[in-house]
């Protein structure tokens, strides 16, 4: 019975307006349900912030009111050393860069901070597990939050206020991040420690905003390459804030592509959603008969060869300069999916890459990108390897990659490097040459030299080989052997069908035309004549 009475009195107290002593000793009646929060004002006074953003100074301290409200207004909770918040007014919870939380309210009141100390208690009162995110956890949304994204003008969109052309123009000029001046950028996207503009955050937010605009139908899809986004929205910002610029534009552009790719890798959007065009559209194709086999080259000098091989064996082919861009992989994977159908079926990738760590990473990334798009069973067959080179070739064409000195001290080997570049690349190159868990390594005597030195240790150099010196015929021959091992049907049955000449359609068409254009004879007669022609 006690708890019921308590519950009744709790509920009644929420309804009751309470009188407070205000400044200058005057009495003033409050409806506590209209108060958003209480915060400190000056010594001996606190201020009551109301729904419309107005404030009223009142005598007392936060501790006093906290004690007082425990009975008469249980909806108030302490969230900060100097904040007492009406939890019924809370609309949303945000997060600050320091790991604390922010309560947001409707109307004119400023957000109120929630410290980590008070957060669990407040969460309990709000009937949620914690303030970080909503259970069950949405890891994708969390990752997006870690980018520090902000959405501008969402309220107007949700209310449907942005419809006509003029409204859209007004909306974009008001909320477009690329139109912000330095001061606003500093306010909206400050760096944690310095308070200067956080460039990565600005670029990410612009990408995020453009995507939102596309979703809301404010702007049409892009028709050019990904660069069109760069020129339309980002060049503007860098021009206006020259101190944000990197030493040269290509660095900025590379960073921008990386940020864009982060979103794609998280699965938030695809390149196709934006309508971007693939830069390597003309250097790829899907095989008619064996789309599951693909020949890939990393050099434009091999374009004609890959194209010819793709045509000859009716398999897929792809050439990119350097690493496979995500956008190319996306479009290629989409076309492959259409043709192959089953995602679990085996894909055979025949890669023509240099014999060096770069070539290895390109082949690996190729696999990674297609795995990302759903192909689970991919096998890589490197076409170019040392067996294609003669000893004299290697002697003549090998190019030094990295060198180091190694000295034995007891059981340990000490490595020393001449430059910081060598030190950075050492692990990767060492793994490439001597092998690791999933890579058997090169381990060839012809690609390593050792100059012994007693005092400083041996000088070891490893070498790589380029594809270019090998003749295309040799590559084609080796490719054929590999292909027939992996895909025995490629030469015999299907290709025989493929190589047969197609029936002479043009002849048929001319015959049909003559029948149709004849002056004499009724329609039914013509139809029968056509039927006969087709059945023959």
């Amino acid at each position: 019975m006690e708890d019921k009475l308590q519950a009744i009195s709790d509920k009644l107290s929420i309804l009751r307006p309470t009188k407070m002593v205000t400044d200058h000793g005057r009495l003033w009646s409050f409806d506590l349900s209209n108060v958003v929060y209480v915060t400190t004002y000056r010594r001996g006074y606190v201020q009551f912030i109301q729904e419309d953003g107005r404030m009223k100074p009142v005598q007392g301290t936060i501790e006093q009111f906290q004690r007082k409200f425990k009975k008469i207004a249980p909806q108030f909770a302490r969230t900060h050393k100097s904040y007492l918040v009406n939890l019924h007014q809370v609309v949303a919870v945000g997060k600050t860069s320091k790991g604390d939380y922010l309560f947001q309210f409707q109307g004119g009141a400023d957000p109120a901070p929630v410290t980590r100390y008070y957060a669990p208690h407040v969460a309990k009162k709000l009937h949620v597990d914690h303030l970080d995110y909503l259970e069950p956890r949405d890891s994708r949304a969390e990752k997006i939050r870690s980018f520090g994204l902000k959405t501008f003008g969402l309220e107007e969109i949700m209310k449907g206020e942005v419809k006509t052309e003029g409204q859209v123009k007004w909306f974009m000029s008001r909320h477009g991040i690329h139109r912000f001046y330095e001061k606003r950028l500093k306010e909206e996207f400050p760096e944690k420690s310095t308070g200067e503009i956080d460039k990565a955050r600005v670029l990410r937010n612009i990408i995020w905003q453009v995507w939102n605009w596309l979703q809301w139908g404010l702007i049409p899809k892009f028709s050019g390459s990904i660069r069109s986004l760069w020129y339309k929205y980002i060049v503007f910002v860098l021009k206006r804030n020259p101190h944000l610029k990197a030493k040269n534009q290509s660095q900025d552009e590379a960073a921008f592509y990386d940020y864009f790719n982060d979103f794609v890798e998280l699965g938030i959007f695809t390149y196709e959603d934006f309508g971007f065009r693939d830069p390597f559209q003309s250097s790829r194709g899907v095989g008619r008969h064996f789309p599951q086999a693909m020949v890939y080259a990393e050099k434009s000098s091999l374009l004609s060869l890959t194209h010819a091989l793709g045509k000859k064996y009716s398999i897929s082919w792809l050439m990119t300069r350097g690493q496979v861009p995500w956008i190319t992989a996306e479009y290629m994977a989409k076309e492959l999916k259409k043709k192959v159908g089953d995602l679990d079926s085996e894909l055979l990738f025949f890669t023509m890459t240099d014999v060096n760590p770069g070539g290895l990473s390109i082949a690996r990334n190729l696999k990674k990108r297609f795995t990302f798009h759903g192909f689970s069973n991919i096998r890589i067959h490197p076409v170019i390897d040392l067996s294609l080179f003669t000893d004299e070739d290697i002697e003549a064409f090998r190019a030094p990659l990295i060198s180091w000195r190694e000295k034995k001290k007891g059981k340990k080997i000490h490595y020393t490097f001449k430059t910081s570049r060598d030190k950075k690349l050492f692990n990767r190159y060492f793994e490439w040459f001597f092998g690791s868990k999933d890579w058997k390594g090169i381990n060839d005597k012809r690609l390593i030299t050792r100059e012994p030195h007693k005092r400083y240790g041996d000088l070891v150099t490893i070498y790589g080989l380029d594809v270019d010196p090998i003749s295309h015929e040799l590559i084609a021959e080796r490719f054929k052997n590999l292909l027939l091992q992996g895909l025995p049907g490629a030469q015999t049955s299907r290709l025989a069908v493929f190589s047969r000449k197609p029936p002479e359609v043009s002849n048929l068409i001319t015959q049909a035309r003559t029948i149709l254009e004849e002056q004499t004879g009724t329609d039914s007669e013509k139809l029968e004549a056509l039927r006969e022609l087709i059945s023959n």
Partner: protein, 143 residues
């Protein structure tokens, strides 16, 4: 004696909870993917239903101003939270409705309901198995 008082207290509590619910706001995902939790005042919710449009299951909260919010909760859990709130009732396998937000009602195999400003009805918002309870609760709400 005490039993009578208990019953009376229950009645008072019930009447009071029309005005002041135990759970004042329900958490939902913020429409802004970059923000955290969003709180929806329960009295402004028209109905809660399940939504399969976006491939994965989620709950849809329709508000009186026409806005839609989503969360990944189960409808049962939300029902448990709102069990002491007389405004809300489960009216179908996948619907929870706010009796105070009903503007218009039409007869179908069970009942079609118009909420707040909606111009289109929610067809079969009340199914046959819940119809009796709905009639009772609806009368209670409009006393």
């Amino acid at each position: 004696m005490s039993k009578a008082i208990q019953a009376k207290l229950d009645k008072i509590l019930h009447k009071l909870s029309w005005l002041i619910p135990d759970v004042f706001a329900l958490p939902a995902n913020s429409p802004d993917m970059s923000a955290g939790i969003h709180f929806l005042p329960v009295h402004e919710i028209c109905y809660i239903t399940t939504d399969h449009k976006n491939e994965h299951y989620r709950l849809l909260y329709k508000m009186q101003d026409g806005l839609e919010f989503f969360s990944n909760h189960q409808l049962q859990d939300v029902e448990k939270k709102l069990s002491s709130n007389p405004r809300f009732m489960r009216s179908q396998k996948s619907y929870m409705i706010n009796l105070y937000q009903i503007r218009r009602m039409e007869y179908s195999s069970a009942r079609d309901l118009y909420f707040a400003k909606d111009t289109n009805p929610v067809s079969n918002a009340v199914s046959l198995s819940y119809l009796d309870e709905f009639k009772r609760r609806f009368e209670d709400a409009n006393k």
